[in-house]
Amino acid sequence: MAVPKIVGIETEFGIVARGGGESNPITASSVLINAYVQELVRTGQSARTAPRVGWDFEDEMPHVDARGTTPGDARPPEVETHLVNAVLTNGARYYVDHAHPECSTPECADAREVVVWDRAAEEILRRSMTAARDLLGPGEEILVHKNNSDGKGNSYGCHENYLLARDTPFGRIVRQITPFFVTRQVFAGAGKVGVEAPGLTAQEVPYQLSQRADFFEEEVGLETTLKRPIVNTRDEPHADAKQYRRLHVIIGDANMSEVATYLKVGTTAIVLAMIEDDELGIDLAPAVPIAALRQVSYDVGLTRPFELASGGTITALEAQWEYFERARKYAETRGLDAVGQEVGADVMARWEDVLTKLETDPAQAADVVDWVAKRRLLEGYRERHDLEWGDPRLAAIGLQYHDLRPERCLAERAGLQRLVDPDEVAHAVSNPPETTRAYFRGRCLQKWPDAIVAANWDSLVFDVGGDPLRRVPMMEPSRGTAEHVGTLIDECETAAELLSRLGS
């Protein structure tokens, strides 16, 4: 049986500091995050006296490879322990990663929750920009973009994480998910002006579906910053490793459209559940996956077929219909418990709808698919001002689609459908989902910030005075929910009482 698809998204945001001379993105990211945390303290949303809760790196092991061996040429990602790192009361982690501010959503139980906490992450960045204004000199500002490329060959990620059963053979996951990752960009692509793959010009590829396709060079591997692979093999479950894997998906674009995020996460979760249950039963492996990935990204008409390893050809939309049909049968015979029945059924309906629209005329999907919505703005503007594709105003539109400043953001103006209520998002800025262990993390941070000295995905470390530090392990992502511990946390007055009642 497929395990519940607990899922989260980690987004690295583009950052620009301007008006202050020489700018350093690491400093700017630190200023941004510190400004937010200080604002929480100032407004009483975080304890005045509490030192900021640090991230506990003890269990971080991003160099472990799911294939069981580490190839000699792979560079293990470094764990940066010295940069700003905050754990928030909504269960999220907000930190400086390389030269970007990064926000990891708390663990969510389904795709809809992911949308809520992903939007909350945007709101956190927006509030950070506002808070940072007070710390900067006159005329200085920090701008944040939710995108994945600067248009000059530099990319940064939006990673998804899905809980999988440990006993699912990794080779099967790679073989069966690769064609899905190559083709899901037809609805999950965020759109990009121009091309950044070596040897191609903007004349050849003026616009493409994906922000990221240009940066992928391998089919499978441990890397995330160089020679990026379609399937990442990082084997760091942040949970009981005997029972679980965490599939770390690095190929996605950061989406501005709520429905696109919902579809990206929802369909991937369903396909992974099918792979776990060995119910997929189709082999659509591309003959050359990297070539297929890019070809699909460059084909805005969605009609060019790519070659299959088994012979024959298929278009990205046809491949998606194949996955959809298998998912429909899976839903009928096995049910969609693993992804949540209600959300699963809604994802299926929207998946069919978006494929139908893209097949009829991609322009019909302009209210849900980012690359279509962005292209509509670009084509309209191009026509109005009679511009060539290389015009910087079009590149500026391509960037400003992702601008998180409300007064500048073009995605906000593009007529995208809303899926979740703004009040729900505002609540999620400071409160955790009730459905996963993030609830325990978030509630404890809200109630006893002075008593928690460190946190990470799978444990909290308490200092209740006198005794040695006490680590509470949270190796089961589906425990620690409101149902499990809500009443307990409500009833305990102190962290010491909580620890004593937990029996730890």
């Binding site: 690295e12 583009g14 950052i15 620009v16 301007r18 993105p25 990602p77 990663d97 390389h98 030269a99 970007h100 990064e102 490329s149 600067d150 248009g151 000059k152 530099n154 990319s155 940064y156 990620g157 990673h159 995330t224 910053t225 990026r228 690095i250 046809e318 219909w321 194949e322 049909e325 429909r328 069919e352 139908t356 009829t360 509509r376 703005l377 309209g380 503007y381 109005r384 910087p392 105003r393 590149a395 500026a396 539109i397 960037l399 400003q400 007064e407 500048r408 073009l410 103006r413 593009a414 007529g415």
Partner: protein, 64 residues
């Protein structure tokens, strides 16, 4: 693609959707065009003043 044909037959709602398509030049078509025009006006207002400088100076470090 035999699967596809089956699916099309079993999904009559798709035909219903097709009927609602907006003919060019109709009232709704005009409305959609007017909306896009308003949107393009707004882009002129909110687009960075010096797009060329903005795009040129937008440089990020690689991440992940």
């Amino acid at each position: 693609m035999a699967e596809r044909e089956q699916k099309k037959k079993s999904a009559p709602q798709r035909d219903a959707e097709t009927v609602e398509e907006v003919p060019a030049g109709s009232e709704s078509g005009e409305k959609i065009k007017a909306e896009l025009d308003d949107l393009l006006d707004e882009i002129d207002d909110v687009l960075e003043q010096n797009a060329e400088d903005f795009v040129k100076s937008y440089i990020q470090k690689g991440g992940e």
